[in-house]
């Protein structure tokens, strides 16, 4: 098996999630661990790493925001067209270690997507976690991702939503995600927090969690770097001797403290 050669698979489903953000379901069967990523290949546009936001043996789903050449080209694609995939790569969230623990998912914007794979895992493995608590933040109510699913999740798990700019219809909180966390007083014993989002959000959420008595080892963050090869050879994603593609992209905070911007 040559790890550099992508396999072409069909697009099964495309869903508009928000302005400029689409969800693609690809006919790529793999046994992915929540939090892992794949390399998507669009001939003549190039290859880009994307985190898998589903947990299923039959397909993978990726949440794509149109920001660059490859992602914009993807947004122009239709169902049944083919796309190259290789992976999944790296170490995701060690969900088996979270058994009987309180799990806090803290996500901002498209950072919610990788965390969705953990929720899908929880839906499949009921009663694995002591509790599942979600704190998701978005810019406006229109930017809220996975709206239909969130309604279901809200019934089964603890869901807290916040937006920066609310509308009149908005029933949830508004403001920073950190103030939401502070309000709720998280349980820091026998619990883990998985944080994913823009670097500035990660920085303040981690600070807030540490203030609430979480230890570095209890906090998991997902790193974003240029991952060309995906197998720890090409060197682009290396930070302080760690390969984000192979040793990560999910790290417990004690392993990468101070390296967020390196």
């Amino acid at each position: 098996m040559n790890p550099y050669i992508p396999k072409f698979v069909k697009i099964l489903k495309i869903e508009n999630l928000a302005k400029g953000i689409k969800l693609f379901r690809l006919a790529y069967s793999c046994d992915n661990q929540p939090g892992q990523f794949v390399e998507l290949f669009l001939p003549h546009y190039g290859e880009a790493p994307m985190s898998v936001c589903s947990h299923s043996k039959d397909y993978i789903e990726v949440c794509v925001r149109a920001v660059g050449n490859i992602t914009r080209a993807m947004h122009r694609m239709h169902i049944d067209e083919k796309i190259g995939v290789r992976g999944p790569y790296g170490h995701g969230y060690p969900v088996s270690e979270f058994k009987n623990k309180h799990v806090y998912l803290i996500g901002g914007g498209t950072g919610v997507a990788p965390l969705r794979s953990v929720v899908h895992y929880a839906l499949k493995h009921r009663q694995t976690f002591a509790s599942l608590n979600m704190f998701f933040g978005f810019r406006t109510p229109n930017d809220v991702l996975f709206q239909h699913e969130l309604k279901e999740w809200g019934l089964m798990f603890n869901l807290y939503l916040t937006v920066d700019h609310p509308t009149k219809k908005w029933r949830y909180s508004c403001g920073l995600i950190t103030s939401l966390i502070e309000e709720q007083k998280l349980i820091n014993k026998n619990s883990v927090a998985l944080v994913c989002g823009p670097p500035i959000m990660i920085k303040f959420v981690v600070k807030c969690l540490l203030n609430q008595g979480f230890t570095d080892e209890q906090i998991y963050i997902s790193m974003e770097r240029l991952m060309r090869c995906g197998i720890g050879k090409c060197g682009h994603c290396m930070i302080d001797g760690l390969y984000v593609c192979k040793d990560g992209p999910v790290f417990s905070y004690d392993k990468i403290r101070g390296m967020e911007t390196k």
Binding site: N2, P43, G235, H236, D240
Partner: protein, 315 residues
């Protein structure tokens, strides 16, 4: 014992039937070049400017062709014999083998490596002023070669290091020698001793102001990573044909010293400062992977005269 005359005859014969590469002088430095006639060969060569890396990972290598819905692997590797690898190069190759062949192994590296036959020549003393192999003891030639030649007077002791090497010696009726127990031992001078001491606790020097001082003279050209025998970073580039029906995927050498090396979506770059990139390379070589062999090529090629040993001592 193999005399110089016998060695030239052996190499001349190899050149006729094989792809033989040996050091040939260009301006000031030697470089591995395809040997087609005996006249090109020389036995008085020093360290080549480029390492053996080019034979296991060519500067640009096609790895796949693709259409809109299909891909096909390309792997076109020829048998090659390299004469004149120095001990530091052989030791560097052992390190890159360890890295590139660790699971999941790199299939292109593995294929090129398997088709390489290495005839190494030991050093009796450091060859250039820039050599600092004494620090890492990488002047020792114990394994990693197919055939090794140890200079002695007007000839060489011959030793094989693999079945491939043994077979090559046998077909050419060259006998192996028992090596004398005493092999040359390169001594550390004061500067190198200080360097060795410093790299043992290099982590304490991360915040040194000297990084910034030396980075000021660095052009961030990436020359050091180009000639480094253990710098294996590469980029993957897709090149499309004009009709946009087909394309070719290539991998080419890349350098952590270039500012776009870490660029991700949204034009975000990490390690934006020269000093950060310089530090990244030094710590990678000397601390995280211990993959420096002290060949000194980075100091030879640097247009700004940044010298690894002097920089580290100055921290």
């Amino acid at each position: 014992m193999l005399s110089k005359y016998q060695l030239l005859l052996f190499l001349g014969k190899l050149a006729k039937t094989n792809e033989l590469y040996a050091p040939v002088k260009h301006d000031e430095f030697y470089d591995f070049e395809r040997i087609t006639e005996k006249g090109q060969l020389t036995l008085n060569f020093t360290l080549s400017l480029y390492s053996l890396k080019q034979f296991v990972m060519p500067p640009e290598e096609p790895i796949m062709i693709f259409s809109r819905t299909n891909t096909k692997q390309i792997m076109d590797v020829q048998q090659k014999i390299i004469f004149g690898a120095r001990p530091c190069d052989v030791n560097a190759l052992k390190l890159s083998d360890e890295f590139m062949l660790a699971e999941p192994a790199d299939p292109y590296y593995r294929a090129s490596r398997a088709k390489l036959t290495i005839i190494a020549v030991a050093c009796q003393q450091p060859q250039l002023d820039t050599c600092f192999c004494a620090v890492f003891q990488s002047y020792k030639l114990d394994s990693g070669f197919d055939i090794a030649l140890y200079p002695k007077g007007d000839g060489y002791y011959v030793k094989s290091g693999s079945n491939k090497g043994r077979a090559l010696l046998k077909t050419n009726r060259i006998k192996e020698d028992n090596l004398p127990a005493k092999q040359p031992n390169f001594k550390l001078n004061k500067k190198l001793a200080e360097f060795k001491e410093r790299i043992a606790n290099l982590d304490d020097y991360r915040k040194s102001k000297s990084w910034e001082k030396h980075a000021k003279s660095c052009f961030a050209c990436g020359g050091c990573t180009l000639v480094c025998p253990t710098c294996m970073c590469f980029d993957i580039i897709d090149v499309s044909e004009l009709d946009l029906c087909k394309g070719i995927r290539k991998r080419s050498w890349d350098s952590c010293q270039l500012k776009d090396f870490t660029r991700i979506a949204g034009n975000i770059r990490f390690r934006r400062r020269h000093s950060e990139r310089m530090q990244h390379r030094y710590y990678h070589k000397l601390v995280w992977s211990n993959s420096c062999v002290g060949c000194g090529r980075c100091s030879i090629i640097c247009p700004a005269n940044v010298n690894m040993v002097e920089l580290v001592i100055d921290l």
